[in-house]
């Protein structure tokens, strides 16, 4: 499938790759350049492939409370929160964002590769009074990320953006296009995720990129940016075979409420589990890759789920599931790749600590 912005990517010679049944740009001018431009200035990412669901009704809040690990009842209007959708065994069906639009009105943003599975699971668990609408095919999504993103959006659209705290959103018009804008993202930098009708996608893309201050960035930079920020990726760190306790050590889970998969979470938290997700810093630029074994004293103690050279830090970093007695920062481990063994050390996440995402102002 092609997003509505496919022709825009081809126009500027993006290199396209298959991703979750979509043809997506992996890079335009180069991953490292696009990565640096996001950390220092501002990039725009086509994320139209992602899914958006509208959920409404008097029981919507309690339905979602049962479906999601995050606390829904404490979400305020105009606030969004990250969490997991679990199956009955506590396996992760998806990681997602839940936006509260009103007392009985929510908006979910889900991964492209899991969209249909999520929709079926959610519908199956909604009360009869709750309506479910899949908005994905007529909702465009653009991520505008980087320390100058606010200034650039204000200049381009000749508006003043409202003061949005981290994980808050609002509705506004950009060039007369009705738009939902949240101060969220997947890069670790100050930035926004924009949602608006697909019919306007090319025009908004053109407006955002025309003066050249905001440049497009592809999935390649999106991946290195999220990895430096320590964010998990569904399909790599997160899957139905992993539980949120292993992936996030209990973050994004509200144990004070009832939800599908809670018994398994409670058991994991009470009894402990075999492996946890950790950050690994490697000694050199040489990268570990997905599937590389993590070794300790000649024993296999884990597996790398993502690995790359870190453009900002200048050495290789990785996320890996590692045996639970070896996860303290400073723990020395080895990573066995096809050809060689690389020295690594467990470090605190995020790898990159100077991101502007949570700053009070830019």
């Amino acid at each position: 499938m092609k997003t509505v912005l496919y022709n825009k990517h081809i126009e500027v010679n993006a290199r396209m790759v298959p991703f979750a049944s979509w043809e997506m740009p992996i890079q335009y001018e180069g991953i490292i350049k696009e990565h640096a431009q996001t950390r220092t200035r501002c990039s725009i990412f086509d994320t139209c492939h992602m899914g958006e669901f509208d959920i409404q009704g008097p029981a919507a809040e309690t339905d979602l409370e049962t479906l999601l690990t995050l606390s829904v009842s404490t979400l305020q209007n105009g606030q969004c929160r990250y969490g997991f959708l679990l199956n009955k065994e506590g396996g992760i069906l998806d990681d997602l964002m839940c936006y509260r639009r009103g007392p009985d009105h929510f908006f979910l943003v889900v991964n492209a590769g899991t969209l249909e599975k999520d929709a079926a699971w959610i519908r199956e668990h909604l009360s009869s009074s709750t309506t479910f609408t899949d908005l994905s095919s007529h909702t465009a999504k653009l991520d505008v990320q980087g320390p100058i993103s606010r200034k650039e959006i204000e200049t381009i659209f000749r508006i003043q953006l409202p003061e949005l705290n981290y994980f808050r959103f609002t509705d506004l018009n950009l060039a007369e296009v009705p738009c939902t804008i949240s101060r969220t993202g997947y890069t670790g930098e100050w930035g926004y995720e924009l949602y608006f009708p697909t019919n306007d996608a090319e025009r908004i893309w053109d407006l955002l990129t025309v003066n050249g201050s905001i440049k497009p960035a592809g999935l390649g930079a999106r991946d290195t940016l999220r990895l430096e920020a320590g964010y998990a990726l569904y399909g790599s760190e997160l899957s139905e075979n992993r539980t949120p306790v292993a992936a996030s050590r209990g973050l994004f889970i509200d144990m004070k409420k009832e939800f599908i998969g809670k018994e398994i979470m409670a058991k994991d938290l009470r009894e402990g589990i075999d492996q946890f997700l950790v950050g690994l810093q490697l000694e050199t630029r040489r990268s570990a890759r997905v599937g590389s074994k993590v070794m300790h004293q000649k024993q296999v103690v884990g597996e790398v789920t993502s690995g790359s050279f870190s453009p900002t830090l200048g050495f290789a970093i990785a996320l890996a599931y590692v045996r639970s007695d070896l996860i303290d920062p400073g723990q020395k481990l080895d990573i066995e790749t096809q050809k060689t063994r690389l020295a690594a050390e467990v470090v605190e996440l995020p790898f990159y600590k100077k991101g502007t995402a949570r700053k009070k102002s830019v």
């Binding site: 890079q27 991953i31 490292i32 390649g220 050199t284 630029r285 990268s287 890759r289 790359s308 050279f309």
Partner: protein, 127 residues
């Protein structure tokens, strides 16, 4: 894509510059553009004996690792140490500063087996 006339080439996208019984080896402009940002280089040791077609070096880009093959039989006499800290030289100048290693050929006649610029250009995609 630049394919300098004075160099010889392999089907696996290495170039060879022959000067005074020594063969400098690198990867072509096409190869560097396909790999995109190169982030790590593993080079052979000086004195290593290498065999045509065998792996002698590894280049890593952000997304993947790629093997580099010896174009001819011979002995490694020099490696480009500058690449250790600046692998991006392969992207910015693949035919000069981005050279990888130098081989002293076991048999100079082996060099005649390599492709010339015309032959190599024909292997590249149009456009």
């Amino acid at each position: 894509m630049s394919v300098p006339n004075e160099l010889r080439y392999t089907k696996t996208h290495e170039w060879v510059r022959v000067e005074e019984r020594e063969a400098a080896v690198g990867i072509t402009d096409f190869a560097q553009s396909q790999l995109s940002d190169i982030t790590y280089v593993e080079l052979p040791g000086i004195g290593d004996k290498v065999t045509a077609g065998n792996e002698v070096a590894v280049l890593e880009s952000v997304k993947a690792a790629s093997d580099i093959y010896a174009p001819i039989n011979g002995t490694i006499t020099a490696i480009n140490k500058e690449l250790e800290d600046h692998p991006e030289l392969i992207n910015s100048n693949p035919y000069r500063e981005g050279w990888l290693f130098i081989i002293e050929p076991e048999n100079e006649k082996d060099l005649d087996q390599l492709l010339d610029a015309d032959e190599y250009s024909k292997l590249l995609p149009e456009d």
